[in-house]
Amino acid sequence: MFGYMLRRALAVLPVMMLVALFVFLLLRLSPGDPAAIIAGDMATPAQLAQIRELMGLNQPLYLQFFIWLGDLLRGDLGVSLISHTPVAQMIADRIGPTLSIALLTMLISILLAIPMGILAAWRHRKLVDHLVMTFSVLGFSVPVFVTGYVFVLVFSLKLGWFPVQGFTPISAGLWPFLKTATLPALTLTTIYVALTARMTRANLLDVLGEDYIRTARAKGGSEMRVLFRHALKNAAVPILTVIGTGFALLIGGVVVTETVFNIPGIGRLTVDAILARDYPVIQAVILLTSFLYVLINLIIDLSYSLFDPRIRY
Protein backbone atom coordinates (compact mmCIF):
# COMPACT_ATOMS: atom_id res chain seq x y z
CA MET A 1 0.00 0.00 0.00
CA PHE A 2 2.70 2.43 1.05
CA GLY A 3 4.86 1.50 -1.89
CA TYR A 4 1.97 2.04 -4.22
CA MET A 5 1.21 5.43 -2.70
CA LEU A 6 4.80 6.41 -3.15
CA ARG A 7 4.83 5.26 -6.73
CA ARG A 8 1.60 7.09 -7.49
CA ALA A 9 2.88 10.21 -5.81
CA LEU A 10 6.08 10.06 -7.83
CA ALA A 11 4.11 9.63 -11.02
CA VAL A 12 2.70 13.08 -10.37
CA LEU A 13 6.12 14.62 -10.99
CA PRO A 14 6.49 14.05 -14.73
CA VAL A 15 2.91 15.16 -15.24
CA MET A 16 3.56 18.38 -13.38
CA MET A 17 6.77 18.91 -15.31
CA LEU A 18 4.88 18.56 -18.55
CA VAL A 19 2.23 20.96 -17.32
CA ALA A 20 4.92 23.45 -16.37
CA LEU A 21 6.66 23.23 -19.72
CA PHE A 22 3.39 23.42 -21.56
CA VAL A 23 2.14 26.48 -19.73
CA PHE A 24 5.45 28.21 -20.03
CA LEU A 25 5.69 27.71 -23.77
CA LEU A 26 2.07 28.59 -24.31
CA LEU A 27 2.54 31.93 -22.62
CA ARG A 28 5.90 32.93 -23.91
CA LEU A 29 4.97 32.22 -27.48
CA SER A 30 1.90 34.40 -27.23
CA PRO A 31 1.76 37.96 -28.46
CA GLY A 32 1.14 40.79 -26.08
CA ASP A 33 3.49 41.64 -23.30
CA PRO A 34 3.23 42.88 -19.77
CA ALA A 35 5.52 45.79 -20.47
CA ALA A 36 2.73 47.49 -22.36
CA ILE A 37 0.28 47.41 -19.49
CA ILE A 38 2.86 48.74 -17.08
CA ALA A 39 3.83 51.54 -19.38
CA GLY A 40 0.28 52.64 -19.95
CA ASP A 41 -1.30 54.50 -22.81
CA MET A 42 1.21 57.22 -23.38
CA ALA A 43 4.39 55.21 -23.37
CA THR A 44 6.62 55.37 -26.40
CA PRO A 45 8.11 52.30 -28.06
CA ALA A 46 11.51 53.11 -26.59
CA GLN A 47 10.10 53.16 -23.08
CA LEU A 48 8.43 49.82 -23.76
CA ALA A 49 11.70 48.25 -24.81
CA GLN A 50 13.36 49.57 -21.70
CA ILE A 51 10.74 48.02 -19.46
CA ARG A 52 11.01 44.71 -21.26
CA GLU A 53 14.73 44.69 -20.70
CA LEU A 54 14.29 45.42 -17.01
CA MET A 55 11.80 42.58 -16.58
CA GLY A 56 14.11 40.06 -18.20
CA LEU A 57 11.70 39.44 -21.02
CA ASN A 58 14.44 39.82 -23.56
CA GLN A 59 16.41 36.79 -22.43
CA PRO A 60 16.34 33.58 -24.47
CA LEU A 61 13.27 31.46 -23.77
CA TYR A 62 15.02 28.40 -22.43
CA LEU A 63 16.98 30.56 -20.02
CA GLN A 64 13.77 32.15 -18.77
CA PHE A 65 12.27 28.68 -18.36
CA PHE A 66 15.13 27.28 -16.34
CA ILE A 67 15.36 30.37 -14.19
CA TRP A 68 11.67 30.06 -13.45
CA LEU A 69 11.91 26.33 -12.82
CA GLY A 70 14.88 26.81 -10.53
CA ASP A 71 13.04 29.42 -8.54
CA LEU A 72 9.99 27.20 -8.44
CA LEU A 73 11.93 24.29 -7.01
CA ARG A 74 13.25 26.59 -4.32
CA GLY A 75 9.64 27.47 -3.55
CA ASP A 76 9.89 30.90 -5.08
CA LEU A 77 6.91 31.60 -7.29
CA GLY A 78 8.19 34.99 -8.30
CA VAL A 79 6.65 38.41 -8.24
CA SER A 80 3.76 39.75 -10.28
CA LEU A 81 5.05 41.77 -13.19
CA ILE A 82 2.23 44.24 -12.81
CA SER A 83 1.68 44.82 -9.12
CA HIS A 84 5.03 43.59 -7.85
CA THR A 85 3.24 41.58 -5.19
CA PRO A 86 4.80 38.16 -4.51
CA VAL A 87 2.80 35.60 -6.43
CA ALA A 88 2.73 33.27 -3.45
CA GLN A 89 1.02 35.97 -1.44
CA MET A 90 -1.48 36.71 -4.20
CA ILE A 91 -2.38 33.05 -4.39
CA ALA A 92 -2.58 32.72 -0.62
CA ASP A 93 -4.94 35.68 -0.56
CA ARG A 94 -7.20 34.29 -3.21
CA ILE A 95 -7.16 30.55 -2.93
CA GLY A 96 -9.48 30.61 0.08
CA PRO A 97 -12.62 31.83 -1.66
CA THR A 98 -12.14 29.54 -4.62
CA LEU A 99 -11.47 26.45 -2.56
CA SER A 100 -14.25 27.07 -0.08
CA ILE A 101 -16.76 27.62 -2.85
CA ALA A 102 -15.50 24.63 -4.79
CA LEU A 103 -15.74 22.44 -1.72
CA LEU A 104 -19.17 23.76 -0.80
CA THR A 105 -20.27 23.05 -4.33
CA MET A 106 -18.90 19.53 -4.16
CA LEU A 107 -20.65 19.00 -0.85
CA ILE A 108 -24.03 20.28 -1.99
CA SER A 109 -23.70 18.44 -5.28
CA ILE A 110 -22.86 15.15 -3.69
CA LEU A 111 -25.66 15.51 -1.18
CA LEU A 112 -28.09 16.25 -3.98
CA ALA A 113 -26.76 14.27 -6.89
CA ILE A 114 -26.22 10.90 -5.33
CA PRO A 115 -29.73 10.57 -3.92
CA MET A 116 -31.07 11.88 -7.21
CA GLY A 117 -29.07 9.36 -9.18
CA ILE A 118 -30.10 6.56 -6.86
CA LEU A 119 -33.72 7.53 -7.08
CA ALA A 120 -33.56 7.71 -10.86
CA ALA A 121 -31.88 4.33 -11.16
CA TRP A 122 -34.27 2.75 -8.73
CA ARG A 123 -37.35 4.14 -10.39
CA HIS A 124 -35.80 3.45 -13.76
CA ARG A 125 -37.98 4.72 -16.60
CA LYS A 126 -40.52 6.06 -14.17
CA LEU A 127 -41.46 9.68 -13.76
CA VAL A 128 -38.77 10.47 -11.18
CA ASP A 129 -36.15 9.06 -13.49
CA HIS A 130 -37.30 11.23 -16.35
CA LEU A 131 -37.37 14.29 -14.10
CA VAL A 132 -33.86 13.67 -12.84
CA MET A 133 -32.52 13.06 -16.31
CA THR A 134 -34.21 16.14 -17.71
CA PHE A 135 -32.77 18.21 -14.92
CA SER A 136 -29.35 16.71 -15.54
CA VAL A 137 -29.37 17.51 -19.20
CA LEU A 138 -30.73 20.97 -18.50
CA GLY A 139 -27.95 21.57 -16.03
CA PHE A 140 -25.53 21.05 -18.88
CA SER A 141 -27.40 23.15 -21.38
CA VAL A 142 -27.53 26.53 -19.69
CA PRO A 143 -24.38 28.62 -19.56
CA VAL A 144 -23.23 29.17 -15.99
CA PHE A 145 -23.37 32.92 -16.20
CA VAL A 146 -27.03 32.85 -17.17
CA THR A 147 -27.82 30.67 -14.17
CA GLY A 148 -25.83 33.07 -12.02
CA TYR A 149 -27.68 36.12 -13.26
CA VAL A 150 -31.04 34.48 -12.76
CA PHE A 151 -30.12 33.46 -9.22
CA VAL A 152 -28.98 36.99 -8.37
CA LEU A 153 -32.12 38.47 -9.82
CA VAL A 154 -34.40 36.13 -7.96
CA PHE A 155 -32.69 35.42 -4.66
CA SER A 156 -30.82 38.66 -4.09
CA LEU A 157 -32.63 41.47 -5.81
CA LYS A 158 -36.21 40.20 -5.67
CA LEU A 159 -36.20 38.18 -2.47
CA GLY A 160 -33.26 39.82 -0.74
CA TRP A 161 -32.12 36.54 0.83
CA PHE A 162 -28.51 36.83 -0.16
CA PRO A 163 -26.13 39.65 -0.98
CA VAL A 164 -25.64 40.40 -4.64
CA GLN A 165 -21.91 39.97 -4.59
CA GLY A 166 -18.83 39.65 -2.47
CA PHE A 167 -17.31 37.04 -0.30
CA THR A 168 -16.88 36.58 3.43
CA PRO A 169 -14.34 33.97 4.45
CA ILE A 170 -15.45 31.13 6.65
CA SER A 171 -13.14 32.46 9.35
CA ALA A 172 -15.64 35.27 9.82
CA GLY A 173 -18.26 32.75 10.85
CA LEU A 174 -20.22 30.02 9.16
CA TRP A 175 -23.38 32.02 8.64
CA PRO A 176 -21.77 35.08 7.04
CA PHE A 177 -19.79 32.72 4.86
CA LEU A 178 -22.85 30.82 3.78
CA LYS A 179 -24.65 34.07 3.02
CA THR A 180 -22.09 34.96 0.41
CA ALA A 181 -21.09 31.50 -0.75
CA THR A 182 -24.46 29.87 -1.21
CA LEU A 183 -25.50 31.50 -4.47
CA PRO A 184 -22.20 30.98 -6.25
CA ALA A 185 -22.07 27.41 -5.04
CA LEU A 186 -25.65 26.76 -6.11
CA THR A 187 -24.88 28.19 -9.52
CA LEU A 188 -22.00 25.79 -9.95
CA THR A 189 -24.00 23.00 -8.43
CA THR A 190 -26.28 22.86 -11.44
CA ILE A 191 -23.49 21.59 -13.67
CA TYR A 192 -21.92 19.40 -11.11
CA VAL A 193 -25.15 17.80 -10.01
CA ALA A 194 -26.01 17.14 -13.60
CA LEU A 195 -22.75 15.33 -14.14
CA THR A 196 -22.73 13.40 -10.89
CA ALA A 197 -26.39 12.43 -10.90
CA ARG A 198 -26.11 11.09 -14.40
CA MET A 199 -23.06 9.10 -13.56
CA THR A 200 -24.57 7.78 -10.34
CA ARG A 201 -27.65 6.69 -12.18
CA ALA A 202 -25.76 4.98 -14.97
CA ASN A 203 -23.48 3.09 -12.63
CA LEU A 204 -26.22 2.17 -10.26
CA LEU A 205 -28.22 0.82 -13.17
CA ASP A 206 -25.27 -1.35 -14.07
CA VAL A 207 -24.91 -2.53 -10.53
CA LEU A 208 -28.62 -3.12 -10.07
CA GLY A 209 -28.42 -5.58 -12.94
CA GLU A 210 -25.78 -7.62 -11.15
CA ASP A 211 -26.41 -11.02 -9.69
CA TYR A 212 -25.52 -10.03 -6.16
CA ILE A 213 -28.36 -7.53 -6.14
CA ARG A 214 -30.67 -10.39 -6.96
CA THR A 215 -29.04 -12.26 -4.09
CA ALA A 216 -29.65 -9.31 -1.79
CA ARG A 217 -33.28 -9.23 -2.81
CA ALA A 218 -33.49 -12.98 -2.33
CA LYS A 219 -32.47 -12.41 1.26
CA GLY A 220 -35.66 -10.45 1.79
CA GLY A 221 -33.95 -7.13 2.56
CA SER A 222 -35.82 -3.89 2.00
CA GLU A 223 -35.25 -1.84 -1.13
CA MET A 224 -33.39 0.80 0.86
CA ARG A 225 -31.03 -1.83 2.17
CA VAL A 226 -30.49 -3.16 -1.32
CA LEU A 227 -29.84 0.30 -2.75
CA PHE A 228 -27.64 1.74 -0.09
CA ARG A 229 -25.89 -1.22 1.46
CA HIS A 230 -25.40 -3.33 -1.62
CA ALA A 231 -25.63 -1.17 -4.71
CA LEU A 232 -24.16 2.19 -3.80
CA LYS A 233 -20.90 0.92 -2.44
CA ASN A 234 -20.35 -1.07 -5.60
CA ALA A 235 -21.06 1.91 -7.79
CA ALA A 236 -18.83 4.15 -5.71
CA VAL A 237 -15.61 3.88 -7.67
CA PRO A 238 -16.80 5.26 -10.99
CA ILE A 239 -18.87 7.89 -9.19
CA LEU A 240 -15.83 8.99 -7.25
CA THR A 241 -13.85 9.11 -10.44
CA VAL A 242 -16.36 11.45 -11.98
CA ILE A 243 -16.34 13.63 -8.91
CA GLY A 244 -12.57 13.82 -9.26
CA THR A 245 -12.41 14.62 -12.93
CA GLY A 246 -15.34 16.96 -12.47
CA PHE A 247 -13.06 19.09 -10.38
CA ALA A 248 -11.58 20.48 -13.59
CA LEU A 249 -15.06 21.42 -14.71
CA LEU A 250 -15.59 23.07 -11.38
CA ILE A 251 -12.52 25.25 -11.78
CA GLY A 252 -13.83 26.32 -15.17
CA GLY A 253 -17.18 27.16 -13.64
CA VAL A 254 -15.57 28.98 -10.75
CA VAL A 255 -13.95 31.41 -13.16
CA VAL A 256 -17.38 32.46 -14.32
CA THR A 257 -19.11 32.57 -10.97
CA GLU A 258 -16.27 34.56 -9.52
CA THR A 259 -16.93 37.13 -12.18
CA VAL A 260 -20.68 37.16 -11.73
CA PHE A 261 -20.58 37.29 -7.95
CA ASN A 262 -17.43 39.34 -7.66
CA ILE A 263 -15.50 36.85 -5.62
CA PRO A 264 -11.78 37.51 -5.28
CA GLY A 265 -10.71 34.00 -6.19
CA ILE A 266 -8.12 32.17 -8.15
CA GLY A 267 -10.22 31.89 -11.28
CA ARG A 268 -10.59 35.60 -11.70
CA LEU A 269 -6.95 36.06 -10.81
CA THR A 270 -5.97 33.79 -13.66
CA VAL A 271 -8.22 35.40 -16.22
CA ASP A 272 -6.98 38.84 -15.24
CA ALA A 273 -3.41 37.64 -15.31
CA ILE A 274 -3.87 36.07 -18.73
CA LEU A 275 -5.42 39.24 -20.08
CA ALA A 276 -2.57 41.28 -18.57
CA ARG A 277 0.13 38.75 -19.56
CA ASP A 278 1.31 38.63 -16.00
CA TYR A 279 3.42 35.55 -16.68
CA PRO A 280 4.57 34.58 -13.18
CA VAL A 281 1.00 34.72 -11.92
CA ILE A 282 -0.46 32.73 -14.80
CA GLN A 283 2.22 30.10 -14.56
CA ALA A 284 1.90 29.71 -10.85
CA VAL A 285 -1.87 29.60 -10.82
CA ILE A 286 -2.24 27.14 -13.64
CA LEU A 287 0.43 24.98 -12.11
CA LEU A 288 -1.36 25.17 -8.81
CA THR A 289 -4.80 24.30 -10.16
CA SER A 290 -3.29 21.47 -12.16
CA PHE A 291 -1.55 20.27 -9.05
CA LEU A 292 -4.80 20.43 -7.10
CA TYR A 293 -6.50 18.45 -9.81
CA VAL A 294 -3.80 15.83 -9.81
CA LEU A 295 -3.79 15.74 -6.03
CA ILE A 296 -7.54 15.33 -5.73
CA ASN A 297 -7.49 12.56 -8.26
CA LEU A 298 -4.60 10.93 -6.48
CA ILE A 299 -6.52 10.98 -3.22
CA ILE A 300 -9.57 9.61 -4.96
CA ASP A 301 -7.50 6.88 -6.56
CA LEU A 302 -6.11 5.91 -3.22
CA SER A 303 -9.54 5.97 -1.63
CA TYR A 304 -10.85 3.38 -4.06
CA SER A 305 -9.68 0.64 -1.78
CA LEU A 306 -11.98 1.94 0.94
CA PHE A 307 -14.94 1.18 -1.25
CA ASP A 308 -13.74 -1.81 -3.15
CA PRO A 309 -11.67 -4.37 -1.23
CA ARG A 310 -10.64 -5.97 -4.52
CA ILE A 311 -8.48 -2.94 -5.19
CA ARG A 312 -5.37 -3.44 -3.16
CA TYR A 313 -2.12 -1.69 -3.62
Binding site: V23, P143, Y149, G252, V256, V271
Partner: protein
Amino acid sequence: MTEISKIGMEGAPLGRAPRISQLGTAAKVALAILVAILLLTAIAPWIAPHDPLLMDPLARLKGPSLAHPLGTDNFGRDLLSRIMIGGRLSLMIGVATACISVGLGLVLGLIAGFFRRADALIMRLMDALMAIPSILLAIALVALNGASVGSVIAAITLPEIPRVVRVVRAVILSAREEPYVEAAISLGSRTPLILFRHLLPNTLAPLIVQGTYILASAILAEAVLSFLGAGVSTETPTWGNIMAEGRMFFRIKPELILFPGLVLSLCILSVNLLGDAARDMLDPRLRKSAR
Protein backbone atom coordinates in the same frame (compact mmCIF):
# COMPACT_ATOMS: atom_id res chain seq x y z
CA MET B 1 -20.28 -8.54 -51.96
CA THR B 2 -19.69 -5.11 -50.71
CA GLU B 3 -20.37 -5.67 -47.06
CA ILE B 4 -16.80 -5.44 -45.95
CA SER B 5 -16.30 -1.95 -47.16
CA LYS B 6 -19.56 -0.89 -45.60
CA ILE B 7 -19.12 -2.31 -42.19
CA GLY B 8 -17.22 -0.25 -39.78
CA MET B 9 -18.08 2.81 -41.76
CA GLU B 10 -21.75 2.87 -41.09
CA GLY B 11 -21.35 2.38 -37.39
CA ALA B 12 -24.21 0.01 -37.14
CA PRO B 13 -22.96 -2.97 -35.25
CA LEU B 14 -24.92 -6.16 -35.34
CA GLY B 15 -25.85 -5.26 -38.85
CA ARG B 16 -28.87 -3.23 -38.01
CA ALA B 17 -28.90 0.34 -39.10
CA PRO B 18 -30.42 2.32 -36.25
CA ARG B 19 -33.88 3.29 -37.29
CA ILE B 20 -35.67 6.41 -36.27
CA SER B 21 -38.60 4.25 -35.28
CA GLN B 22 -36.41 2.61 -32.65
CA LEU B 23 -35.95 5.89 -30.84
CA GLY B 24 -37.91 6.76 -27.75
CA THR B 25 -40.35 9.65 -27.79
CA ALA B 26 -37.93 12.02 -26.11
CA ALA B 27 -35.25 11.22 -28.63
CA LYS B 28 -37.70 11.64 -31.49
CA VAL B 29 -38.68 15.08 -30.26
CA ALA B 30 -34.99 15.89 -29.83
CA LEU B 31 -34.28 14.78 -33.36
CA ALA B 32 -37.11 16.90 -34.68
CA ILE B 33 -35.87 19.96 -32.81
CA LEU B 34 -32.33 19.42 -33.95
CA VAL B 35 -33.33 18.95 -37.55
CA ALA B 36 -35.44 22.09 -37.36
CA ILE B 37 -32.57 24.10 -35.88
CA LEU B 38 -30.12 22.72 -38.43
CA LEU B 39 -32.47 23.45 -41.27
CA LEU B 40 -33.20 26.98 -40.11
CA THR B 41 -29.56 27.84 -39.61
CA ALA B 42 -28.61 26.19 -42.88
CA ILE B 43 -30.94 28.34 -44.90
CA ALA B 44 -30.58 31.35 -42.60
CA PRO B 45 -28.69 33.52 -45.09
CA TRP B 46 -31.66 33.31 -47.41
CA ILE B 47 -34.51 33.59 -44.98
CA ALA B 48 -33.08 35.82 -42.24
CA PRO B 49 -35.13 39.01 -42.26
CA HIS B 50 -32.07 41.25 -42.00
CA ASP B 51 -28.34 41.36 -42.45
CA PRO B 52 -27.12 40.21 -39.05
CA LEU B 53 -24.29 42.72 -39.18
CA LEU B 54 -26.29 45.69 -40.33
CA MET B 55 -26.15 48.25 -37.52
CA ASP B 56 -28.44 51.03 -36.68
CA PRO B 57 -27.13 52.23 -33.35
CA LEU B 58 -29.79 54.90 -33.26
CA ALA B 59 -32.44 52.19 -33.06
CA ARG B 60 -30.73 50.02 -30.47
CA LEU B 61 -32.30 47.78 -27.86
CA LYS B 62 -35.74 48.11 -29.41
CA GLY B 63 -38.46 45.72 -28.41
CA PRO B 64 -40.13 43.27 -30.77
CA SER B 65 -41.76 44.82 -33.79
CA LEU B 66 -42.92 43.70 -37.19
CA ALA B 67 -39.58 44.61 -38.74
CA HIS B 68 -37.61 43.03 -35.89
CA PRO B 69 -39.63 40.13 -34.49
CA LEU B 70 -37.28 39.73 -31.53
CA GLY B 71 -36.17 43.34 -31.37
CA THR B 72 -32.66 44.69 -31.81
CA ASP B 73 -29.43 44.46 -29.88
CA ASN B 74 -27.16 47.16 -28.55
CA PHE B 75 -25.91 47.98 -32.03
CA GLY B 76 -29.43 48.08 -33.39
CA ARG B 77 -28.89 44.81 -35.23
CA ASP B 78 -31.77 42.43 -35.75
CA LEU B 79 -31.70 39.83 -32.99
CA LEU B 80 -33.64 37.17 -34.88
CA SER B 81 -31.28 37.32 -37.84
CA ARG B 82 -28.30 37.21 -35.54
CA ILE B 83 -29.60 34.16 -33.74
CA MET B 84 -30.31 32.42 -37.03
CA ILE B 85 -26.93 33.21 -38.52
CA GLY B 86 -25.21 32.76 -35.16
CA GLY B 87 -26.40 29.17 -35.07
CA ARG B 88 -24.28 28.41 -38.08
CA LEU B 89 -21.07 29.33 -36.37
CA SER B 90 -22.03 27.92 -33.00
CA LEU B 91 -22.94 24.62 -34.55
CA MET B 92 -19.88 24.77 -36.72
CA ILE B 93 -17.71 25.28 -33.67
CA GLY B 94 -19.50 22.44 -31.93
CA VAL B 95 -19.25 20.05 -34.84
CA ALA B 96 -15.69 21.01 -35.69
CA THR B 97 -14.59 20.60 -32.08
CA ALA B 98 -16.34 17.27 -31.82
CA CYS B 99 -14.90 16.00 -35.10
CA ILE B 100 -11.36 17.19 -34.54
CA SER B 101 -11.10 16.07 -30.94
CA VAL B 102 -12.70 12.74 -31.72
CA GLY B 103 -10.51 12.32 -34.77
CA LEU B 104 -7.25 13.16 -33.05
CA GLY B 105 -8.28 11.39 -29.87
CA LEU B 106 -9.12 8.33 -31.88
CA VAL B 107 -5.74 8.18 -33.55
CA LEU B 108 -3.84 8.78 -30.32
CA GLY B 109 -6.08 6.39 -28.41
CA LEU B 110 -5.60 3.68 -31.01
CA ILE B 111 -1.87 4.11 -30.85
CA ALA B 112 -1.82 4.18 -27.07
CA GLY B 113 -4.13 1.22 -26.80
CA PHE B 114 -2.38 -0.94 -29.32
CA PHE B 115 1.28 -0.10 -29.04
CA ARG B 116 2.55 -0.56 -25.52
CA ARG B 117 5.61 1.57 -26.05
CA ALA B 118 3.77 4.68 -27.15
CA ASP B 119 1.24 4.20 -24.41
CA ALA B 120 3.17 5.60 -21.47
CA LEU B 121 4.32 8.68 -23.34
CA ILE B 122 0.93 9.50 -24.80
CA MET B 123 -0.88 8.94 -21.56
CA ARG B 124 1.49 11.13 -19.54
CA LEU B 125 0.97 13.89 -22.08
CA MET B 126 -2.75 13.43 -21.87
CA ASP B 127 -2.65 13.45 -18.08
CA ALA B 128 -0.85 16.77 -18.19
CA LEU B 129 -3.35 18.16 -20.63
CA MET B 130 -6.23 16.94 -18.50
CA ALA B 131 -4.78 18.49 -15.39
CA ILE B 132 -4.82 22.00 -16.80
CA PRO B 133 -8.28 23.43 -16.22
CA SER B 134 -9.72 23.50 -19.69
CA ILE B 135 -11.31 26.91 -19.53
CA LEU B 136 -8.07 28.52 -18.43
CA LEU B 137 -6.22 26.70 -21.16
CA ALA B 138 -8.80 27.87 -23.65
CA ILE B 139 -8.59 31.50 -22.55
CA ALA B 140 -4.83 31.36 -22.75
CA LEU B 141 -4.96 29.79 -26.19
CA VAL B 142 -7.38 32.39 -27.49
CA ALA B 143 -5.29 35.16 -26.04
CA LEU B 144 -2.34 33.52 -27.76
CA ASN B 145 -3.77 33.25 -31.23
CA GLY B 146 -6.17 36.12 -31.27
CA ALA B 147 -9.89 35.75 -31.08
CA SER B 148 -10.48 34.09 -34.41
CA VAL B 149 -12.89 31.25 -35.01
CA GLY B 150 -9.96 28.99 -35.65
CA SER B 151 -8.28 29.68 -32.38
CA VAL B 152 -11.53 29.36 -30.46
CA ILE B 153 -12.04 25.95 -32.02
CA ALA B 154 -8.47 24.99 -31.24
CA ALA B 155 -8.81 26.24 -27.69
CA ILE B 156 -11.96 24.27 -27.04
CA THR B 157 -10.70 21.20 -28.86
CA LEU B 158 -7.38 20.73 -27.17
CA PRO B 159 -8.66 20.00 -23.66
CA GLU B 160 -11.23 17.55 -25.04
CA ILE B 161 -8.67 15.35 -26.75
CA PRO B 162 -7.42 13.54 -23.62
CA ARG B 163 -10.95 12.54 -22.71
CA VAL B 164 -11.42 10.93 -26.10
CA VAL B 165 -8.02 9.28 -25.93
CA ARG B 166 -8.91 7.71 -22.61
CA VAL B 167 -12.19 6.33 -23.89
CA VAL B 168 -10.66 4.92 -27.05
CA ARG B 169 -7.71 3.45 -25.24
CA ALA B 170 -9.90 1.73 -22.69
CA VAL B 171 -12.07 0.24 -25.41
CA ILE B 172 -9.08 -0.92 -27.42
CA LEU B 173 -7.38 -2.41 -24.38
CA SER B 174 -10.41 -4.50 -23.58
CA ALA B 175 -11.33 -5.30 -27.17
CA ARG B 176 -7.88 -6.57 -28.02
CA GLU B 177 -8.39 -9.29 -25.44
CA GLU B 178 -11.50 -10.48 -27.23
CA PRO B 179 -11.20 -13.95 -28.74
CA TYR B 180 -12.20 -12.68 -32.16
CA VAL B 181 -9.05 -10.60 -32.26
CA GLU B 182 -6.99 -13.68 -31.43
CA ALA B 183 -8.92 -15.50 -34.10
CA ALA B 184 -8.01 -12.81 -36.59
CA ILE B 185 -4.34 -13.13 -35.67
CA SER B 186 -4.60 -16.87 -36.20
CA LEU B 187 -6.14 -16.22 -39.58
CA GLY B 188 -3.01 -14.32 -40.49
CA SER B 189 -4.54 -10.85 -40.47
CA ARG B 190 -2.01 -8.06 -40.41
CA THR B 191 -1.91 -5.35 -37.78
CA PRO B 192 -3.63 -2.58 -39.80
CA LEU B 193 -6.52 -4.87 -40.63
CA ILE B 194 -6.93 -5.85 -37.00
CA LEU B 195 -6.58 -2.30 -35.83
CA PHE B 196 -8.95 -0.70 -38.25
CA ARG B 197 -11.48 -3.36 -39.03
CA HIS B 198 -11.67 -5.37 -35.84
CA LEU B 199 -10.84 -2.90 -33.09
CA LEU B 200 -11.87 0.46 -34.45
CA PRO B 201 -15.57 -0.29 -34.84
CA ASN B 202 -15.78 -1.04 -31.12
CA THR B 203 -14.97 2.55 -30.34
CA LEU B 204 -17.89 3.85 -32.36
CA ALA B 205 -20.63 3.66 -29.79
CA PRO B 206 -18.68 5.33 -26.98
CA LEU B 207 -17.30 7.86 -29.42
CA ILE B 208 -20.73 8.86 -30.61
CA VAL B 209 -21.75 9.48 -27.03
CA GLN B 210 -18.51 11.29 -26.30
CA GLY B 211 -18.83 13.22 -29.54
CA THR B 212 -22.30 14.50 -28.77
CA TYR B 213 -21.16 15.44 -25.32
CA ILE B 214 -18.21 17.35 -26.73
CA LEU B 215 -20.39 18.99 -29.33
CA ALA B 216 -22.72 20.26 -26.65
CA SER B 217 -20.02 21.38 -24.29
CA ALA B 218 -18.11 23.12 -27.08
CA ILE B 219 -21.08 25.30 -27.89
CA LEU B 220 -21.33 26.13 -24.21
CA ALA B 221 -17.61 26.69 -23.85
CA GLU B 222 -17.71 29.14 -26.69
CA ALA B 223 -20.37 31.08 -24.81
CA VAL B 224 -18.31 31.09 -21.65
CA LEU B 225 -15.22 32.25 -23.53
CA SER B 226 -17.19 35.13 -24.99
CA PHE B 227 -18.43 35.94 -21.53
CA LEU B 228 -14.89 36.14 -20.24
CA GLY B 229 -13.84 38.32 -23.14
CA ALA B 230 -11.97 35.72 -25.13
CA GLY B 231 -14.55 34.79 -27.72
CA VAL B 232 -14.92 35.43 -31.41
CA SER B 233 -15.61 38.89 -32.73
CA THR B 234 -19.10 40.29 -32.62
CA GLU B 235 -18.83 40.59 -36.38
CA THR B 236 -19.25 36.86 -36.55
CA PRO B 237 -22.31 36.25 -34.44
CA THR B 238 -22.54 33.06 -32.43
CA TRP B 239 -25.07 32.13 -29.81
CA GLY B 240 -22.29 32.50 -27.33
CA ASN B 241 -21.23 36.02 -28.15
CA ILE B 242 -24.80 37.18 -28.69
CA MET B 243 -25.47 36.12 -25.12
CA ALA B 244 -22.19 37.42 -23.80
CA GLU B 245 -22.80 40.78 -25.38
CA GLY B 246 -26.38 40.76 -24.24
CA ARG B 247 -25.47 40.05 -20.65
CA MET B 248 -25.05 43.76 -19.93
CA PHE B 249 -28.68 44.12 -20.75
CA PHE B 250 -29.85 41.10 -18.85
CA ARG B 251 -32.20 43.13 -16.71
CA ILE B 252 -33.01 45.75 -19.33
CA LYS B 253 -33.70 43.55 -22.30
CA PRO B 254 -33.53 39.91 -21.20
CA GLU B 255 -34.50 38.74 -24.70
CA LEU B 256 -30.88 39.24 -25.70
CA ILE B 257 -29.89 36.39 -23.44
CA LEU B 258 -33.10 34.45 -23.26
CA PHE B 259 -33.68 33.78 -26.94
CA PRO B 260 -30.20 32.68 -27.90
CA GLY B 261 -30.05 30.87 -24.57
CA LEU B 262 -33.24 29.05 -25.33
CA VAL B 263 -32.11 27.91 -28.75
CA LEU B 264 -28.74 26.95 -27.37
CA SER B 265 -30.25 24.98 -24.52
CA LEU B 266 -32.73 23.29 -26.82
CA CYS B 267 -29.95 22.39 -29.16
CA ILE B 268 -27.69 21.02 -26.44
CA LEU B 269 -30.58 19.22 -24.84
CA SER B 270 -31.43 17.56 -28.13
CA VAL B 271 -27.86 16.63 -28.89
CA ASN B 272 -27.47 15.11 -25.45
CA LEU B 273 -30.71 13.19 -25.68
CA LEU B 274 -29.77 11.91 -29.09
CA GLY B 275 -26.36 10.93 -27.84
CA ASP B 276 -27.92 8.94 -25.03
CA ALA B 277 -30.35 7.34 -27.42
CA ALA B 278 -27.56 6.51 -29.83
CA ARG B 279 -25.64 4.84 -27.07
CA ASP B 280 -28.65 2.79 -26.12
CA MET B 281 -29.08 1.73 -29.70
CA LEU B 282 -25.47 1.05 -30.48
CA ASP B 283 -24.53 -0.79 -27.35
CA PRO B 284 -26.13 -4.20 -27.45
CA ARG B 285 -25.48 -4.70 -23.75
CA LEU B 286 -27.36 -1.55 -22.87
CA ARG B 287 -30.08 -2.36 -25.27
CA LYS B 288 -30.65 -5.62 -23.47
CA SER B 289 -30.68 -4.18 -20.02
CA ALA B 290 -32.89 -1.47 -21.44
CA ARG B 291 -31.23 1.65 -20.12
